[in-house]
Amino acid sequence: MTMNAVRRFFSLIEGPQTIGHGRPFWLGFALVVAVALVFPAFADGYTVGNTVYFLNSVFIALGLCLIWGYVGVLSFGQTAFFGIAGYSYAVLTINVGTAYGFTFAALALSVLAAALFATILGYFLFFSRINGVFLGIVTLSVTLVLERFMAQTSGPEWKIGTARLNGTNGINTMPPLTLPWSGGDFVFYPDPPLYYLVLALLLIVYLCLRILLNSRFGNVLVAIRENPERAEMLGYDIRKYQLGAFVIGAALAGLSGALYTAWGQYITPSSMGMTAAALPIVWVAVGGRSDITAAAIGTFIVLAVFQALTIYGNQYALVVMGALLVLTVLFMPDGLILSGAAKLGRITQTLRHRRSL
């Protein structure tokens, strides 16, 4: 009975749209999760807090991977949703406070705000049947204009309730995530409890995305990417599917933004600027945009490299990121992880072939 349930669960999270299946992959997966669970016990506080930032960033990468890699829609403005959710969290929590665990409601509402904005924007884009290039530049323009808009809100007249928007300085007075507890409030600072919270969220999102992508919905998305006309001829209203995926991707970007704001207790307009918008593209392209596992791993690795380089200065790290993007597109269009995995696959196959001879 339970065996059957397990089997059914695995049949949901495995399928042609995601790499990784069978015992070896899931054993490896369990190992990674186990390492992630014990990691805080062996790391100092700063590293744990920093890792939370990495984990936060994976959500926006997964969202971009979904919309870019699976549906073939170039959304260059994921940071717009990141910023909207970040600012929403700030404004909501500053106005309402932390009572009754409201910060968690604010988190959900911020994600909702990003999703709502994406629904309106996406309606105009997809129902006009905008093709790849134009969609990319319209979404990029949206995030650039949002940045410019927030950057000019430094005057005292720019406030929502009690929250001043502060122009380019951004907001930094919002509370972190807070749970009411019997012995006083429990506050999620960037330390192990927040780490476990975000890790759990990430695992849930990752598995849900696997289920979604291997479902009928996911198959249609990939069909649209491969050939939109054919998908349409088969009777699917591709606009609705594209819009659906776009909104989910935006919600994930929003989750990143709200969590980031709660984590660092600050959000600035530059989080929606040209450079900020380029980074998720780098993570996902380098990791491998056509698979969520590859994109997630890639994001983690690229972020680690980026941070290791920032000790030489942020500019140098960004030069490397740009160069990495250029080289990936030129020489490894499938991304590092996927190309690497394919190479490994070929090697094991040759070995197996030799053994069978």
Binding site: L74, F76, L121, F124, L125, F127, S128, R129, I130, G132, V133, F134, G136, I137, V138, L140, S141, V142, L144, V145, R148, F149, Q152, G273, M274, T275, A278, I281, V282, A285, G313, Q315, Y316, L318, V319, M321, G322, A323, L324, L325, V326, V329, L330, P333
Partner: protein
């Protein structure tokens, strides 16, 4: 009389917006129309033109010549980029776009590292004139004149020269053009260089009016994008009318609420326009 002065102020506002949209967008539009690539490093070519122009002026070169040098420097940079990267990605336009973003990142940050966060700017030349109570910089007329000159120049190049005919043939049916003996790769590479050169020209022209920072290209991008999206693939039939229509919106919104709202107005206009004309104005004008 008072309304006359105000009307003139509005016309000047429109001329400013029109010049900015045309100059910011034409380089981008040419490359997009020809190759289907939206060059996200377009802003960096603009920045390159502006920096070279200002450096030349500091070295004692008169401004018009300095602007020409800036444009040529950008065109050369464009040729290098085309030769090193873009050429290998023909047939993968979406990947080329992502690649140009990487180039943009590298160029912006390298400029920041090597030249610092800003460069001493040059003042706006040629003085000013007054109409009624309002005074205007003469340079604003220079910019408007330059925009018209660029459009006229492009019209001549694309309609009256051998290169223009070859370019239009390549744009319409590339393999047919190649089959009739045209070296389409060379045409692509020249187009990319011209696009970069026009970006450099825009940078050079606006250099006296702006603060020079490595990220200055970004401030042209929204306008350039919007104009190309509304205009569509054709520079003369698309970019020019799109710029004229958008300039009215931008000038009106700017007059009413300020620079930023001009930009927001543009963005909302573009999102609404593509709902009605998905292929842009040129697609609408040339539809069969």
């Amino acid at each position: 009389m008072e309304t006359g002065y105000l009307a003139f102020a509005m016309v000047m506002q429109f001329a400013d917006a029109f010049a900015f949209l045309v100059l910011a967008a034409c380089g981008l539009a040419i490359v997009f129309g020809m190759m289907g690539i939206v060059n996200l490093a377009h802003g960096e070519f603009i920045m390159c033109g502006a920096y070279v122009t200002v450096a030349a002026v500091h070295a004692g070169v008169p401004l018009p010549l300095a602007i020409a040098i800036g444009a040529i420097a950008s065109a050369l940079a464009g040729m290098v980029v085309e030769f090193a990267c873009i050429r290998h990605l023909y047939g993968r336009p979406l990947d080329s776009i992502v690649l140009t973003w990487g180039i943009s990142l590298v160029v912006t940050q390298t400029t920041l590292i090597t030249l610092g966060s800003n460069m001493p700017s040059i003042g706006t030349p040629y003085g000013s004139f007054a109409v009624g109570p309002y005074s205007y910089s003469v340079y604003r007329l220079v910019l408007f004149g330059s925009a018209l000159a660029v459009l006229a120049g492009l019209y001549i190049v694309f309609n009256w020269t051998r290169f223009g005919i070859a370019a239009r043939a390549t744009m319409q049916v590339p393999h047919m053009a190649a089959a009739s003996g045209l070296d389409t790769r060379r045409i692509y590479s020249w187009t990319f260089a011209i696009g970069a050169g026009l970006a450099g020209l825009a940078g050079g022209l606006y250099a006296p009016t702006m603060t020079l920072v490595p990220t200055m290209g970004t401030s042209f991008m929204t306008e350039a994008f919007v104009t190309v999206v509304v205009g569509g693939a054709d520079v003369i039939l698309g970019t020019a009318p799109a710029a004229a229509i958008l300039a009215i919106i931008k000038a009106g919104m700017t007059y009413w609420k300020g620079q930023l709202f001009g930009q927001i107005g543009l963005l909302i206009a573009v999102i609404v326009v593509i709902r009605i004309l998905p292929k842009g104005i040129s697609g609408f004008l040339t539809r069969q």
